[in-house]
Each structure stands twice: as structure tokens, then as C-alpha cells.
């Protein structure tokens, strides 16, 4: 019967060799793509273990892998001293001190001051772009932001020591009799803040643009002004994306190296004075790697302990970012 022939050919078509070949090709492509994706995961894991391996020898004189193979260890620095010590003089000949707190405090000071620059300006820029700017202004402003994001950070570093400190800070604070040193946390933090504005602005703006038009139009139709729409509707509805932008910017600021190495100084001071010289974790690492200490020595291996701390802090920031995104995802449907 014709109908049976027809249905038989359909069955052949959906079960035939063609699909078997197709399936094989699909499988190969999937494996290749998975391999590429796996590289990033493997790299992250490899970096973590390299840091851990070396950091181990900072504390216990031998590398972790040597220890695992049965090597003898002797403690050089206690984990407690490293985590809670308030002095950081790794290169001191007679009485070295390995407390990371001054470096943490330096990083923290820079990050907080930078956040005071980047978060208000970045958020305001995002609100302006998504609600106020005419299409023409937008067309100019967005590429400008991208240029700002593309400037090498060393240029920001020079900007800090050649403009922010001598012109801006001395110009503003000088008349009040406040002395501004050549190297200081504030100047570096302002530069770091400016550097992260585009990040805050563009990620926040993406989040704001994702707020459905139905919501904003609903608010406008109620007689809300632009400001009321921004504060009452758009920002709350895109809060998860905005917070994610802040967290990413903060973790970017934590890891920022060139600007702070140039402009914040090299004195590991445990201070909250914005005009003091501070040393961040990253600036220390740059400084140390260029120094004269021998590979394997405790002062050299301190690099890896600090690096591991940095890695864990940024990892925590990224996990927090993930959590915030998931936690607040269902603001609108």
C-alpha cells in the first residue's frame, strides 16, 4: 500500500546512515569545543597549584610536592604570623617580618578610595546613558568609554604621578596647608577609580538596558519623571547586574598592579591615611620580583604566599559576584 510505503520511507529517513555519520561529526565537534573550553579551567587549576606549591615553601622551606613525596620540612614562617602580623619587612637582614596585614590594608585602602570614584561616576554614567542621553550623545559617549577602558594601565600610572598628584591634589589641598607627598594612596586610587569607571558604567548599563520597556513605559505612563523612573524602577530592577558590576570592578581594582606600583609607593604602612605612601599586594610583588633575593629564599618565596592570598581574594569576589547574580536574578520575568 502506498501509505505504508510512505511511512516506511519516513522511518528510513529518520533512522538511516546519514544520521549516524551526522552524529559522529557532531561528537567530534563537541569534543573539540569542549577541549578549548577546558583549557581555561585547566589553566586556573594549574595556576592555583603552582601558587600553592611555592607558597608552601615560604612557610615550610620545601615545596608542597617535595613534602608530598616524603621530604622533611621545617617551619620558617607560621601561617598565623603571615595572616595576622602587622609588619611586613621580608627583606630586612636581621629581623624580617612577614605579616601581610600592611599589604592587605594598602590594597584595601586603594580599593575603597577607588570605589568612591568609580561607583558613583560609573553608575551615574550608566543611568545617563540608558535613560537621559539622546541617541546621538550615546553614539559619542559609548566609544569614548571604550577608549578609556582600552588605555594601558601604565599610562594611568603616569597620569597619577604627573597630573593627579602634582596638579589636582596639590592644587586642591595645598591651599589648606595639607602636604601631598610624591607617592600616595589617594592619587593611585583616583587613577584606579577612573580606570574602572568604564567597567562599572558599561556592565551597569547593560543591566539597565535589559529592564523590559514595559516596566519603564508603565512608570512613565503613571507620570513618573526620568529621575523617578531611574531610582524607583530601573535601578531596583537591574540591581543584581549593577552589584555584579561593582564586584567585578572591585576585583579588578584589587588586582591592579601598574598604577599602584608607580604611584602608591613602596612602604608597607598599616594606615588608613589616604595621603600616606602604601604598598599593595600587587605592588609588593612587582617590587620583589625585580629585587635581588635568591629563588627559594624565604623573602623570594613570600611572593607566592602573597600571590596565593591575592588569588583567593579575587576568587572570593568572583564567587560573590556569581552568588549575587543568582540570588537577585528573578527581579523581573
Amino acid at each position: 500500500m502506498a501509505a505504508e510505503d510512505g511511512s516506511q520511507s519516513t522511518v528510513d529517513a529518520i533512522t538511516g546512515d546519514v544520521t549516524a555519520a551526522d552524529r559522529r561529526r557532531n561528537r567530534r565537534v563537541r569534543r573539540l569545543l569542549f577541549g578549548c573550553a577546558a583549557i581555561t579551567v585547566l589553566t586556573t587549576v594549574a595556576i592555583f597549584f603552582a601558587l600553592l606549591d611555592n607558597a608552601f615553601s615560604f612557610f615550610y622551606e620545601i615545596r608542597l610536592y617535595e613534602f608530598l613525596l616524603g621530604g622533611e620540612f621545617s617551619q620558617r614562617v607560621s601561617v598565623w604570623e603571615f595572616v595576622a602580623g602587622t609588619q611586613w619587612y621580608p627583606n630586612h637582614g636581621i629581623a624580617p617580618a612577614f605579616g601581610i596585614l600592611p599589604l592587605l590594608a594598602g590594597t584595601f585602602l586603594i580599593v575603597v578610595l577607588a570605589a568612591f570614584v568609580a561607583i558613583p561616576i560609573g553608575t551615574a554614567t550608566a543611568v545617563y546613558l540608558s535613560l537621559y542621553a539622546s541617541p546621538r550623545t550615546r553614539a559619542y559617549l559609548k566609544p569614548t568609554l571604550e577608549i578609556l577602558a582600552g588605555i594601558p594601565t601604565i599610562v594611568y600610572g603616569f597620569f597619577a604621578i604627573s597630573f593627579i598628584t602634582p596638579v589636582l591634589l596639590r592644587g586642591l589641598l595645598g591651599p589648606f596647608g595639607i602636604e601631598v607627598g610624591r607617592l600616595n594612596a589617594l592619587s593611585a586610587a583616583i587613577a584606579v577609580g577612573i580606570m574602572t569607571i568604564p567597567m562599572v558604567a558599561s556592565i551597569s548599563e547593560d543591566a539597565m538596558a535589559a529592564v523590559p520597556d514595559g516596566l519603564t513605559h508603565g512608570a512613565y505612563a503613571m507620570g513618573a519623571s526620568k529621575y523617578q523612573v531611574a531610582i524607583g524602577i530601573v535601578i531596583p530592577a537591574s540591581l543584581s547586574g549593577i552589584l555584579a558590576a561593582y564586584i567585578l570592578a572591585v576585583s579588578r581594582a584589587i588586582g591592579e598592579t601598574m598604577i599602584v606600583a608607580l604611584a602608591a609607593g613602596h612602604s608597607p604602612n598599616l594606615t588608613s591615611d589616604p595621603l600616606a605612601e602604601v604598598q599593595t599586594m600587587t605592588a609588593f610583588m612587582v617590587h620583589q620580583v625585580r629585587g635581588t633575593s635568591a629563588v627559594g629564599s624565604v623573602e623570594y618565596q613570600s611572593l607566592f604566599a602573597v600571590g596565593l592570598a591575592l588569588f583567593l581574594i579575587t576568587l572570593a569576589a568572583n564567587l560573590l559576584n556569581d552568588y549575587v547574580k543568582r540570588r537577585y536574578r528573578e527581579e523581573y520575568r
Partner: protein, 282 residues
């Protein structure tokens, strides 16, 4: 409850109201005592594309005016002219006049934000804010700064929107957890909470099932006792059931006929309207 007369002063406090039209209105749009909205030669362009042929029409107070016509004929466009939501659309240009209690809302001294506080709108797709039920209804009164006795305002709006019974015990829950029909009634409650006087609805029931639709229709009839309602609908029976007057737009953005609903459905003047209503066209 519905505020009416002093509206113009709110919009343009510095100007005398020009109730007298500066040109005699055309037949379709004879302005009279009860006229709330009076369009004269109202034309809309999107870029260079003309979406609305010159519309002249007078909409009376406390009546339901239905807008019908085939898809793309400019119904939503006309509706958005009334509360200047077209301002939100890039490249949209409005010409001609639309008088609201005699005041042309396209005059430079009219603030669209103030205008929209007098003219509420309900959208096709329910669009509750991602806030609690209470905060949704309280939104209008709050942004307008008239939030004394907010509880009473919210309850009254929810009652008038026939939603109070269903939500009175969970006002603090998210509005997004309501069903589609409940969300749409919530949006109606939100629109009437600040007592706007005029309510625009753009196919408010098209996303709803028949039972929810019936509720909304009953609601519209009740609202017409206090408010002037302008409603866009694709549903001819709906227009016939709930409206006092009907505007028929046809393809090209032309207002072909505007008359009492009974008249439009019984003996339309224009052959094209008859064809459209009887389903021969559009």
C-alpha cells in the same frame, strides 16, 4: 472621585485656558460642553512614514470610546498621542492639536509628566512593577507626593479594580506572583489609584482568557461612571458590548468613522466600515 475641571491649571499654571477653539471643529469632532479630549488634524509620523492621517474627533467625558481597526492602522499610535507616550519613541513626530479640557497638550508649556498624572494608561501586556502588590498600587500616589492615607487609597483602587477580595490578605507579596488576569486588574488599579480622570487602555484583555476578559469588561463599564475611558480592541463584540462610541481606523491610519457604537454597528455610513465590521475586509 474623578477630578475633572482644574486639570488645565495643573498642566500650564501660567496660561489662561483657551477653551474656545481657534478654528471651528470639523463635523466628526464637534466639541461640546462634555468634550474632554478634542483632536484636530492630529497627525503622526514615524521618521518619514506617516502613521496617522489627520484625525479630528471629540471624545466626551465619562464615556467609553472604543478604537477598532485592522492591525497596523494606528490605533496604538493614536492612543499614545493622548498621554504623549509617543514622546518616548525615537523619531516619532506629532502634528496638529489635541486639546485636553481645551488646552493643547502639544503646546510647549505642557509638561508631559504632569499630563500623564491626569491620564492613566493600561497596556496590552500586564506590566506590574517587580514590587509588592501594595507598592504597585501605591506607586502613582507616591510619586505624585499625595501619600496621606495611602492604605485607604490602595484599598479603594483595588476594590474598584475588583481585585481586593483576591489579594487583601497578601498585599506584601510580589505582584509577579499573580496570574495574568490578576496582574492586568492590578495594572488597572495602579492606573486609577491617583484618580487620573481619563484612562487609556491598549487591548487590555487580549492576553487573557475569556473569564478574565469578562471581569475586565465589567470593570470598564463600572469605571466609565467616574472616568473617561478610551480603549483599543481587536474584538468587535467587545467594542459593541462595552463602548458608547466607536472610532474606526482603517489601513493607512485613516479615521474613517466615529459615531455612537450602536450606530456604527447597526448602520455605518461608510461601506468600508461595514465591510470591516462584517469581516469582509481587514
Amino acid at each position: 472621585m474623578a477630578t475633572s475641571e482644574p486639570t488645565v491649571d495643573d498642566l500650564a499654571p501660567t496660561l489662561e485656558t483657551n477653551v474656545a477653539a481657534d478654528e471651528p471643529p470639523a463635523d466628526a469632532g464637534e466639541a461640546s460642553e462634555e468634550t474632554v479630549l478634542h483632536a484636530s488634524d492630529l497627525t503622526v509620523y514615524y521618521g518619514t512614514e506617516q502613521a496617522l492621517q489627520p484625525v479630528t474627533a471629540a471624545l466626551p467625558e465619562r464615556e467609553v470610546t472604543a478604537i477598532i481597526g485592522p492591525s497596523g492602522c494606528g490605533k496604538s499610535t493614536f492612543l499614545r498621542c493622548i498621554n504623549r507616550m509617543n514622546d518616548q519613541i525615537d523619531g516619532c513626530r506629532v502634528e496638529g492639536k489635541l486639546r485636553f479640557y481645551g488646552k493643547n497638550i502639544y503646546d510647549n508649556d505642557v509638561d508631559p509628566v504632569a499630563l500623564r498624572r491626569k491620564i492613566g494608561m493600561v497596556f496590552q501586556k500586564p506590566n506590574p512593577f517587580p514590587k509588592s502588590i501594595y507598592d504597585n498600587v501605591a506607586y502613582g500616589p507616591r510619586i505624585q507626593g499625595c501619600d496621606d492615607d495611602l492604605d485607604a487609597t490602595v484599598e479603594s483602587a483595588l476594590r474598584r479594580a475588583a481585585l481586593w477580595e483576591e489579594v487583601s490578605d497578601r498585599l506584601d507579596e510580589s505582584a509577579l506572583d499573580l496570574s495574568g488576569g490578576q496582574q492586568q486588574r492590578l495594572c488597572i488599579a495602579r492606573a486609577i489609584a491617583p484618580d487620573p480622570g481619563v484612562i487609556l487602555m491598549d487591548e487590555p484583555a487580549s492576553a487573557l482568557d475569556p473569564i478574565a476578559t469578562t471581569k475586565i469588561e465589567d470593570l470598564i463599564e463600572e469605571l466609565a461612571e467616574e472616568y473617561t475611558v478610551v480603549i483599543v480592541t481587536h474584538n468587535m463584540q467587545q467594542a459593541a458590548r462595552i463602548s458608547d462610541r466607536t472610532m474606526v481606523f482603517l489601513t493607512g491610519g485613516e479615521l474613517v468613522e466615529f459615531d455612537r457604537t450602536a450606530k456604527i454597528f447597526a448602520e455605518p455610513e461608510d461601506q468600508r466600515v461595514e465591510d470591516y465590521i462584517t469581516g469582509k475586509f481587514g
